[in-house]
């Protein structure tokens, strides 16, 4: 995996990542774990069932994962969805859809780049 190109492709400065996570082999290990993480499935399920509580939780977890790995576009998309779902005010389904789609797009981009 060419890590430097990967990060460049998603618009993140590789040096920042390297400084934080220190070793290339560690970064690779984490990215592999990220790809295996089940939270995205939970997210899709929640969206299908219209369970906004679970959706919030899953999006929040994804935000954490993305932040840890400096996957900024994904982190932003996840954050946007999380904040929208945060409190108990009624939600506009189209907006939820929109934000959800954005998240999935970013996720899929990353997936494709890594494989």
């Amino acid at each position: 995996m060419d890590l430097q190109n990967f990060y460049k492709a998603i618009g993140v400065n590789y040096n920042t990542v390297l400084r934080r996570l220190r070793r290339e082999d560690l970064i690779e290990k984490y990215l592999k774990l990220f790809l295996k993480d089940q939270t995205f499935i939970l997210l899709a399920e929640a969206k299908e069932n219209g369970d906004y509580q679970q959706l919030f939780g899953a999006a929040h977890t994804i935000k954490g994962l993305a932040l840890n790995l400096e996957l900024s576009p994904l982190a932003d998309a996840a954050s946007s969805l999380t904040e929208y779902l945060r409190n108990d005010t009624p939600k506009d389904n189209t907006i939820v859809d929109e934000k959800y789609e954005k998240l999935m797009t970013e996720y899929n981009t990353i997936r494709n780049l890594l494989q």
Binding site: R20, R22, N68
Partner: protein
């Protein structure tokens, strides 16, 4: 103290493996890492290891049990006082942060993690907490020393003062003891005075200084052997105000509690309840309680001791005089206390003055101190606790029974590891009293019974035992026995149920075996019909139970059985018996009883048969059914019958009469049926039917 060589342990709690991984990688060089992927796991780990975990890194948003839930449980168990918690979360909202700090969290690290920051913060927190523990134990030791020194100092001082009065130092010691005894009684009876053990300690110390003012009284007056003149008495009276004045002039420690009490006692230990005392004519509860008590103690001690102006009175006389109001007026509540302790006052004073060093209850005092500041354990205690845990864990792991422990405060049950293999339930179940959480392992009734056992126990009778059906991991239901013991926290006033421990053992095999043996004992082993003993029991029960329901007892046997045996061998004979038994069973209803009551004699009891016709019909049918060829051999049977209730109200009578009828059949050529008739002549029907 933990050795420097051993790595400290950190617990990481986060539901995403990736997150745990990142943190673990940062920290595992310097620390031993333990991971938990959800709140429940974390609690389980904490329960087993709370002495050895130095820090917890806790995520907030987790499924099932959030970080806050974990913190709440930690608070309940007082773990939060010894184990620092650092929150790791991508949640940055102010309310989450505030809530975390309210739970006593030490630090908050947000994502993304900077390894340098994480390492440093973790290190600092751990160092801080271990220093704290060390300090605590140091302080505790110091407190004890200080208290003892205090007491000693005061003892010395007051003895010197008293010495000048011509009284021995014993007076000081005794005043302290009597004051202490009265205060204990006061605390028990009259809670409104709010006597904590620390107060008792302070006041009894301060009491020693009550006559310190006498230092300024001229010796001629102090030790005059006769009665004092009016002027002399006035001078004497000034010792209270003088003593208080001296304490006022202290350069240091003026507002120490000890000095405060001493001043009260000095100045006002000669006041009276009715306001006629000196120097300030204070009335009733205007007089501080400390002074009131010392006043009474002083009076009592003066009465029972020898003085320059009087001999020593007996304990009884002293009490009498005080109760009669001959020695001043006191708070009626204090008089009550005096009455209460007066029986053993004498004895107690003598005993306690032998060891005046420990004039306050050290245990009680430490207990109160600890209660005010929450429960903390010294390192040594934690070490011992850890040892006990290790032993317990090992012993439960080699036992193949499931052990359990239920905590009433948290309403949670913890099982030993075996529970997973045996019942496939988790080792910790919370909200236990809500039945659903037992996942159908036992039925509602059994659960209610179990609760009954637990709540009906008491400190005097804490153990209980019950048998019940439980569903195993493979779905089968088997018999188990639960033996339990409830644990109580008992103090002087009440007892509280706080825990229950016990064992769940599989007794299925024994129970089933027991049942099998029981059944076996009832049946005849060859034919599997009832044997005579149980037939008699059953039939007797039936007869007693259904007085007005008629029935018929039939006895029959195979004709010429002995010859048959001799011709064809005993084994063959056995086979025929079995054969006949089978046929018999096929020809009775469920409510009837069939038994083998002799070598080749059978008994049938038919219930609810009323008429003779039916009886005869039945026997005819029976003889036909039973007289079948067995392996080419023809055999016949003879039958005798008696009727209930006409032919006898008891089993014995029925049996006798049926026997007689059978006998008659035999005599009449066999292969026939006779019905008993009470007037001696028996009716019989001839059945000469050939075997089919």
């Amino acid at each position: 103290m933990e050795s420097m060589v051993q790595k400290k342990t950190i617990l990481i709690v986060d539901d995403a493996e990736l997150n745990r991984c990142v943190l673990a990688d940062i920290l595992q060089e310097d620390y031993h890492i333990v991971e938990a992927s959800n709140g429940k796991e974390a609690i389980e780990i904490l329960k087993k290891n709370d002495a050895s975990i130095s820090l917890i890194l806790l995520d907030l948003l987790m499924p099932e049990m959030t970080g806050f839930d974990v913190l709440a449980i930690m608070q309940k168990n007082h773990w939060h006082e010894t184990i620092p918690v650092v929150i790791i979360s991508s949640e940055n909202s102010a309310e989450y942060i505030e809530k975390s700090y309210e739970f006593g969290v030490v630090d908050y690290i947000s994502r993304p993690f900077d390894p340098i920051i994480v390492t440093q913060r973790v290190k600092n927190t751990i160092i801080l907490y271990s220093k704290q523990k060390e300090l605590e134990s140091l302080v505790k030791e110091q407190v004890i020393e200080k208290e003892s020194n205090n007491a000693l100092m005061i003892n010395i001082l007051s003895t010197i003062v008293e010495f000048r009065n011509g009284e021995s130092g014993l007076h000081v010691i005794r005043i302290r003891i009597i004051t202490e005894i009265l205060m204990e009684a006061l605390r028990k009876r009259y809670q409104e005075y709010d006597m904590a053990e620390s107060h008792i300690a302070l006041i009894s110390n301060a009491a020693a200084l009550h006559d310190i003012g006498k230092i300024e009284i001229p010796e001629e007056i102090l030790n005059k052997p006769g009665k004092l003149t009016k002027e002399e008495f006035e001078i004497m009276k000034t010792h209270s105000a003088l003593g208080a004045g001296m304490l006022d002039n202290l350069r240091f420690g003026n507002d120490e509690e000890l000095v405060k009490y001493a001043r009260q006692i000095c100045r006002w230990h000669h006041e009276r309840w009715d306001g006629n005392g000196y120097p300030d004519h204070l009335k009733e509860d205007e007089i501080p309680i400390a002074a009131q008590i010392v006043s009474l103690a002083d009076v009592y001690d003066a009465l029972v001791s020898e003085r320059v102006y009087k001999p020593a009175y007996s304990h009884e006389k002293a009490i009498e005089m005080i109760l009669n109001g001959e020695c001043g007026m006191f708070n009626p509540k204090l008089i009550e206390c005096l009455k209460e302790v007066s029986d053993h006052l004498d004895e107690a004073v003598r005993l306690r003055s032998k060891d005046p060093g420990h004039l306050f209850n050290v245990n009680q005092l430490s207990q109160e101190l600890v209660q005010k500041k929450g429960v903390k354990l010294s390192d040594k205690t934690l070490f011992l606790l850890e040892q006990e845990r290790t032993k317990y864990q090992f012993l439960t792991s080699i036992s193949d029974e499931v052990l359990f422990e239920y905590d009433f405060n948290t309403d949670a049950v913890t099982f030993s590891d075996r529970c997973q293999a045996e019942f496939s339930i988790p080792t910790i179940i919370t909200d236990f009293l809500k039945y659903e959480n037992l996942q159908g392992k036992l039925d509602q009734q059994a659960f209610e019974k179990l609760k009954e056992h637990v709540f009906n126990s008491s400190p005097e009778s804490p153990t209980f035992q019950m048998k019940l059906l439980l569903t195993k991991a493979d779905g089968a239901k088997e018999w188990y026995e639960i033996i339990g013991r409830t644990l109580w926290a008992v103090d002087s006033q009440n007892s509280q149920l706080y825990s229950c421990v016990g064992r769940i053992s599989n007794i299925h095999r024994q129970t089933m075996e027991g049942k099998r043996l029981e059944t076996l004992a009832q049946k005849d082993s060859l034919t599997n019909l009832y044997n005579q003993f149980s037939a008699k029991k059953l039939i007797t029960q039936t007869l007693e139970g259904s007085q007005d329901s008629p029935g018929v007892m039939i006895l029959f046997d195979l004709d010429n059985f002995r010859a048959l045996n001799e011709q064809n061998g005993h084994l063959f004979g056995d086979q025929i018996l079995k054969h006949v038994a089978r046929l018999t069973e096929n020809n009775i209803r469920r409510m009837d009883i069939a038994a083998r009551v002799g070598g080749n004699t059978f008994l049938i009891y038919l219930r609810e048969i009323a008429s003779e016709e039916i009886t005869m019909m039945y026997c005819r049918m029976l003889s036909v059914a039973l007289k079948q060829c067995y392996q080419g051999l023809e055999y016949t049977i003879s039958i005798g019958a008696s009727v209930f209730p006409q032919n006898g109200p008891t089993y014995e009578e029925l049996f006798t009469h049926a026997s007689e009828a059978l006998h008659t059949s035999k005599h009449n050529g066999k292969n026939c049926f006779t019905l008993y008739h009470p007037d001696g002549s028996m009716r019989y029907a001839f059945q000469g039917a050939a075997p089919e």
